[in-house]
């Protein structure tokens, strides 16, 4: 266990280091001239030179990277080109809203996905099972921004059940969470269906049934808990899915999280902000995967550590 933990942590650290190299390349090397972008078109040669020195772009490459990395480690993600504030502060201010949205999305995807998966497995070939197949195809094929606008149109504009957008109450949270969770719901539904089918074939289920337990008790006491655990351990992996989704969902619903921050930065070509959000997302994904890998064997001892 200790060895596994150490190895896995080491891997994660290496990947995080790699991520910093990639973002460094994207931020400082690829843009034709980041200084020009920061200084604006009308800057004098002197200002340009000053900014270049300030950013340390006159230093050798490895030294630039070293400065970049030590900044990152002390929580400094650089400054926005246009808003004169620290990227890390902008992100920190908006992180809680995004986290709330993700919690809502997890609730949606688990509720929809697990319910559908169980019903489909219990009545194999029934209408829920067929619906699940259609649903899971649509959830991976539908563009999230269209789903978002569709939900807004039906439930906010036509029916008036939910606000058109914004932030603050529980009602504001429902539609964005649903949009963000839909993709995962399809995935969980399929996973739950196949693990349930497998569990239902097991001997202990047959034993429970032959003891004369009613079907419902067998299902809720014996089948579902065994099928659900390995699946719930995968929530950490969802983070990657969410990180792409929040940019779209938050921009459509006007949700003041880091996705909207990224979207606003896109419109103004404010690369440090986009990069900051990307970096945070990549870290969240690495950590999410790590947590999923570490939690899974704790929840389900059948999973062997490798």
């Amino acid at each position: 266990m200790i060895g596994y933990l150490a190895r896995r942590l080491g891997q994660a650290a290496l990947i995080l280091l790699g991520i910093s190299v990639v973002t460094f390349v994207l931020l400082y090397l690829l843009p034709a001239d980041p200084v020009r972008q920061i200084a604006g078109r009308s800057a004098t040669a002197e200002t340009v030179e000053n900014i270049r020195r300030q950013l340390g772009l006159d230093l050798p490459l490895w030294e630039q990277y070293w400065r970049y990395l030590s900044n990152l480690l002390s929580g400094n993600l650089g400054r926005s080109y246009l808003q004169k504030s620290e990227v890390s502060e902008l992100i920190a201010a908006r992180l809680p809203a995004s986290l709330l949205l993700m919690v809502g999305a997890i609730a949606c995807e688990l509720t929809i996905g697990l319910t559908m998966g169980v019903l489909a497995a219990v009545r194999r070939g029934g209408w829920v099972d067929n619906l699940l197949m259609v649903f899971s195809f649509i959830s991976v094929s539908a563009p999230q921004f269209v789903i978002a606008i569709l939900l807004l149109y039906v439930f906010a504009v036509k029916l008036g059940w939910f606000p058109i957008g914004g932030y603050g109450t529980f009602a504001h949270l429902v539609l964005p969470s649903l949009t963000l969770g839909l993709l995962g719901a399809g995935w969980y539904a399929r996973m739950m269906r196949s693990t349930m089918l497998e569990v239902l074939r097991r001997d202990y289920i047959r034993t429970a049934q032959s003891k004369g337990l009613r079907g419902r008790i067998v299902l809720f006491r014996h089948a579902i808990p065994n099928a659900i655990l390995p699946i719930v351990a995968m929530i950490g992996i969802d983070i990657g899915m969410f990180m792409s989704g929040i940019v779209v969902v938050e921009s459509v619903f006007g949700w003041p999280g880091i996705g909207q921050l990224a979207w606003q930065a896109i419109q103004r070509v404010d690369i440090p902000i986009i990069m900051g959000v990307t970096l945070i997302s990549a870290c969240a994904i690495v950590i999410g995967n790590l947590v999923a890998d570490l939690v899974a064997p704790l929840i389900d001892p059948r999973i062997k550590l490798r």
């Binding site: 290496l14 990947i15 790699g18 991520i19 990639v22 994207l26 690829l30 843009p31 197949m133 899971s136 195809f137 649509i138 991976v140 094929s141 539908a142 563009p143 999230q144 921004f145 269209v146 606008i149 569709l150 807004l152 149109y153 504009v157 993709l183 399929r190 196949s194 089918l197 990657g240 899915m241 990180m243 792409s244 989704g245 940019v247 779209v248 921009s251 459509v252 990224a262 979207w263 896109i266 419109q267 070509v269 690369i271 986009i274 990069m275 959000v277 990307t278 997302s281 990549a282 994904i285 690495v286 995967n289």
Partner: protein, 303 residues
């Protein structure tokens, strides 16, 4: 995001190279796959014959295309799918937009498949330091959210149609590389490859004559599923305003241009939205059917 999770289960290795005719015949027995192929055929034909098919000039701002108050028209006899905010014919723009989606779908995904295959097969066959470095790099790329990485690249490079294709390819090669790596690895450990090697066959010959033919079915499946991802990613980038730039119509940027009016002119969002959904769905369904047919050990949906 596609339907299957590549890491699950043992990598499967089809034992026989595939025959195109029998695969197509078996596809015809699957109603969903047939529907998928019909949708794809319709979009392809629309894109190819766009100059003939468009009922109106896609870029013309028609005077009669707006109401007296300047609002777009809903679907009607003259403009079948209605008009957009500038009085342009939506159907004609959709048909031309089909070209954009397909060009990007084919070019971006083609590039992604080529890069992914080169990386995956090289790493899987040669292993050693080269393989380790390539696969660690692939893992690294996997830890970036695809959309955000594409956004960063698009923001840096100021996209044209071809740059968008390139950006999508740079993001999407990762999955196919991972899958081909696992398959190539387990193939190159098989006896018949071992035998070839001991007979003195060169690496290039083994790769070309013995490894590649066994990977063709996997590549076909992932190439098909990948078009679905590509179409979605292009639409999303265009929707965010950093994909294909107007006035070149793309299904994503049509929605981008008109989204603020979705409450009063919903057709401007939902008709192009349906087009994106249908095309992406078609490739997903087709890819899934192909996987079932080509690769019996890896069960797809009907597990």
């Amino acid at each position: 995001m596609s339907i299957i999770v590549p890491e699950l289960g043992e990598p499967s290795v089809p034992t026989r190279p595939i025959r195109a005719q029998s695969v197509f015949g078996r596809l015809l027995h699957r109603p969903m796959a047939v529907v998928g192929m019909i949708i794809i055929a319709v979009v392809v034909l629309a894109a190819v014959f766009a100059p003939v098919l468009t009922p109106h000039d896609p870029n013309e701002q028609y005077f009669e295309g707006l109401t007296l108050e300047g609002a777009p028209l809903g679907p009607n006899g003259q403009f079948w799918f209605g008009t957009d905010l500038l009085g342009r014919d939506l159907l004609s723009r959709l048909i031309v937009g089909a070209q954009t989606s397909l060009i990007i779908g084919v070019v971006a995904n083609g590039l992604a498949v080529i890069i992914g295959s080169l990386v995956g097969i090289t790493a899987g066959y040669f292993r050693g330091i080269v393989g380790a470095v390539l696969m660690r790099f692939t893992d690294l790329m996997m830890s970036f959210p695809a959309l955000l990485l594409a956004i960063v690249l698009a923001a840096i490079f100021r996209p044209s149609l071809w740059i968008v294709a390139l950006v999508i390819a740079m993001v999407n090669w990762v999955q196919i590389a991972r899958v081909l790596y696992t398959e190539t690895r387990s193939l190159s450990e098989r006896e018949f490859i071992e035998a070839e090697r001991s007979l003195g066959a060169g690496s290039m010959l083994i790769l070309w004559r013995h490894i590649l033919p066994h990977l063709v079915s996997t590549i076909i499946v992932w190439a098909t599923l990948g078009i679905s991802t590509t179409v979605l990613l292009e639409a999303t980038l265009s929707f965010l305003g950093i994909g294909v730039r107007p006035p070149t119509p793309s299904w994503g940027n049509i929605i981008f241009e008109n989204q603020t009016y979705f409450a009063t002119a919903p057709w401007l969002v939902f008709i192009p939205g349906a087009a994106i959904l249908l095309l992406s769905l078609a490739f997903n369904v087709l890819g899934d059917a192909l996987r079932d047919i080509l690769d019996p050990t890896q069960q797809g949906r009907a597990a």
